[in-house]
Amino acid sequence: MTLYLIKILIFPGLLFLFILSLIGEYYDRKLYARMQNRVGPPWFQPVADFIKLLGKELIIPLNADARIFKILPVFACVATIVAYLYIPLFSKTSLLPFNGDIIFVLYMLTLPTLSYALAGWYSRSPYALIGSTRVLTQLFAYEVPLFMAVLAPAILASSWSFSELITFYQTHNWLWLVNILGFIVAMITLQGKLEKVPFDIPEAETEIVAGVFTEYTGPLYAYFRLAMNMQTIAGASLVAAVFLPFGFGSCLIVNFVIYILKIAFILFLLALMRTLFARLRIDQMLVFCWKYLAPIALAQITLNIIIKAWL
């Protein structure tokens, strides 16, 4: 029991995720800056930002529903942490494995997005309102391709559970390489989930200031940013567990290093995408997701069904 609590609260649970998300933010910002020919922030910048925001004045708009306005950032954080607990990181099983945890994690990762939308709605500001409708529109665009892409490897492994999926790919060496199309789709949709360029439409600063977060200040905004950072790590861990299911064999420390390398690789791809593209419009985003990503994900599923019959 005590061990469980330590695992949930400290490693690899809450505290670890908190530290990793701050490191992840630094890594992302530094990479982004270096690729743009800038110097980038010092290593402690994300921590400093977090502490600074915690100390700032908290302003709640008069029109806003104060109780929901305050709960939503915490809600987003909690949902992400819960999702993270169910993803296997550097051992075959996660902290709390059960059959069907892949689907559970996907749903838990949808909750922060819904809380952003509600946050925009309850802020009662025109910018936040537009941002919130955009969050929801975008959710409907990327969620289906993301689900299809993540479920394709699971179909091949005939299991909805992470541990069985990893065991399957360990017994079939290099078979995870067939999921490369799904990996690409998952990376692009993950970018949409994290609301970063080219899919930062819900918080396009030149149009709607900060979108759903416009009215958020101080500690509440700090928690939203934290939720966003933790979502990045959780999303990257999910993609790593499903599409890069290798490196669980050796001792714990080697496994841990491999996990960190996987996350670093995925964050690098996300930062690269941010550097290379301009922001799309919401209609272009919808067309792109439904016209190209969904068929590609479907092709992946079809491919996996054919391979499965052949195995």
Binding site: I130, V197, T206, E207, A278, R279
Partner: protein, 408 residues
């Protein structure tokens, strides 16, 4: 979604570099209506010119715009020189053109970065602004200032370009040309950039002509107009260059025109350096300018700039009126935004390269919804009010003074 909501873009908004206000009425994500309000940054420069000697006006007018400072000062000086009936030495006209082109380069590179930022393409912003430093450093080297170079004096220029500086200019131009060719590639090959800009802010040739679009905005709709060719000033008559036009008629066309104009500017600078004659820098102009009126035109980076100067025989102008290019283009913006997407509002506004501080004059309260609530007074009421006010507060009775009908 049929409910309409009004989104205020401005007066303070991340998309705007200067205060201006666009009240966008949205129907879903589409723009249903747009109300443009300018006038937040009126500085009274025209009036300020009236009390100052001509030379002081040059310095004041250079501060109309932080980016096209040379444009405004040259445009004004051309009018003054016409009034004084002076012909400036050939070298001065070459150096004026040289600074004009350097200014165009830094303005267009700045625009490219701003436009990229408006569509969320921050990498291009960082790249183009880094390269802009090359030309900014060059301007600082030549004139001592990054902006407001103050290279003009009435009757010529104040500063020569030495042989050593010529070499540095040519070297910088080579670097910039290489970088600009890269931007041409970005503009013609980068998919998300093209997707975001094409068919956005469309304005046809006829509409652009009717609404009086000038500069790159007009040229992107196929209007082949450029003051440097149509009414050559400075040394442009002896320089060989093309007017860049484009038939896309959208924001993408405006980007292409500006990037290609950069390449023209490099060629112009090379020719200017090659042909730079050896004459004195300036001629003496008497302090008192003879009475008269003059209008001068200048192709600023943003389009045609017009200055009107009325002199009265003293050392101070009677009236100075300037029309910045943004004023000519701002009419076209409302047309461009018709039935557009809300996401395109910032880039369409940015595409004319607006400079609201240059444009802002006194604001008139007509048609303003707010002013109807306030107590508006007619001339007669105002007179009665002031007579009563003085009677009550100062004990002076002005009611016997004969009323002039001139202003009613």
């Amino acid at each position: 979604m049929t409910k309409r909501i009004v989104i205020p873009v401005g007066p303070q908004h991340p998309a705007l570099k200067e205060p201006a206000s666009f009240d966008v009425t949205l129907k879903g994500e589409r723009v249903a209506d747009i109300l443009v309000k300018v006038g937040y940054n009126h500085r009274g420069i025209e009036k300020g010119c009236e009390g100052r000697p001509y030379l002081h006006c040059v310095y004041l007018l250079e501060r109309v715009c932080g980016i096209c400072s040379h444009s405004h000062s040259t445009c004004f000086i051309q009018a003054v020189e016409e009034l004084a009936n002076v012909k400036i030495p050939e070298k001065a006209s070459y150096i004026r053109a040289l600074f004009g082109e350097l200014e165009r380069i830094h303005s267009h590179l700045l625009w490219l970065g701003v436009a990229a930022h408006e569509i969320g393409f921050d990498t291009l912003l960082m790249y183009s602004w880094r390269d802009r430093e090359v030309v900014m450093d060059l301007l600082a080297l030549l004139a001592g200032n990054r902006v407001n170079y103050t290279v003009n004096v009435i009757g010529g220029v104040r500063k020569d370009v030495t042989e050593e500086e010529k070499g540095q200019i040519l070297k910088a131009v080579d670097i910039l040309e290489e970088r600009t060719k890269y931007y041409v590639r970005v503009a013609t090959e980068e998919v998300s950039f093209i997707e975001r800009l094409s068919k956005v802010g469309y304005i046809s040739y006829e509409d652009a002509l009717r609404l009086g679009a000038v500069g790159p905005t007009g040229r992107a709709s196929g209007i082949k107009r450029d003051v440097r060719k149509d009414d050559p000033y400075a040394a442009y008559e002896e320089i060989d260059f093309d007017i860049i036009t484009d038939d896309h008629c959208d924001v993408y066309g405006r980007a292409v025109v500006r990037v290609k104009e950069l390449l023209q500017s490099y060629s112009i600078i090379r020719q200017l350096i090659k042909k730079l004659p050896q004459t004195p820098l300036s001629v003496n102009v008497p302090k008192n300018i003879p009475a008269g009126e003059a209008v001068s035109r200048y192709e600023a980076p943003r389009g045609e700039d017009i200055h009107y100067v009325k002199s009265n025989g003293t050392d101070k102008p009677d009236r100075v009126k300037l029309r910045a290019p943004t004023l000519a283009n701002v009419q076209a913006v409302a047309k461009m935004l018709e039935n557009g997407n809300f996401a395109d509002v910032p880039i369409v506004v940015a595409a004319i390269d607006p400079c609201f501080s240059c444009t802002d004059r006194m604001i008139v309260a007509a048609n303003d919804v707010l002013s109807e609530k306030e107590n508006r007074m007619t001339w007669k009421q105002l007179r009665e009010f002031s007579i009563n006010w003085y009677k009550k507060n100062k004990g002076v009775d002005f009611s016997k003074i004969k009323k002039s009908d001139k202003h009613i």
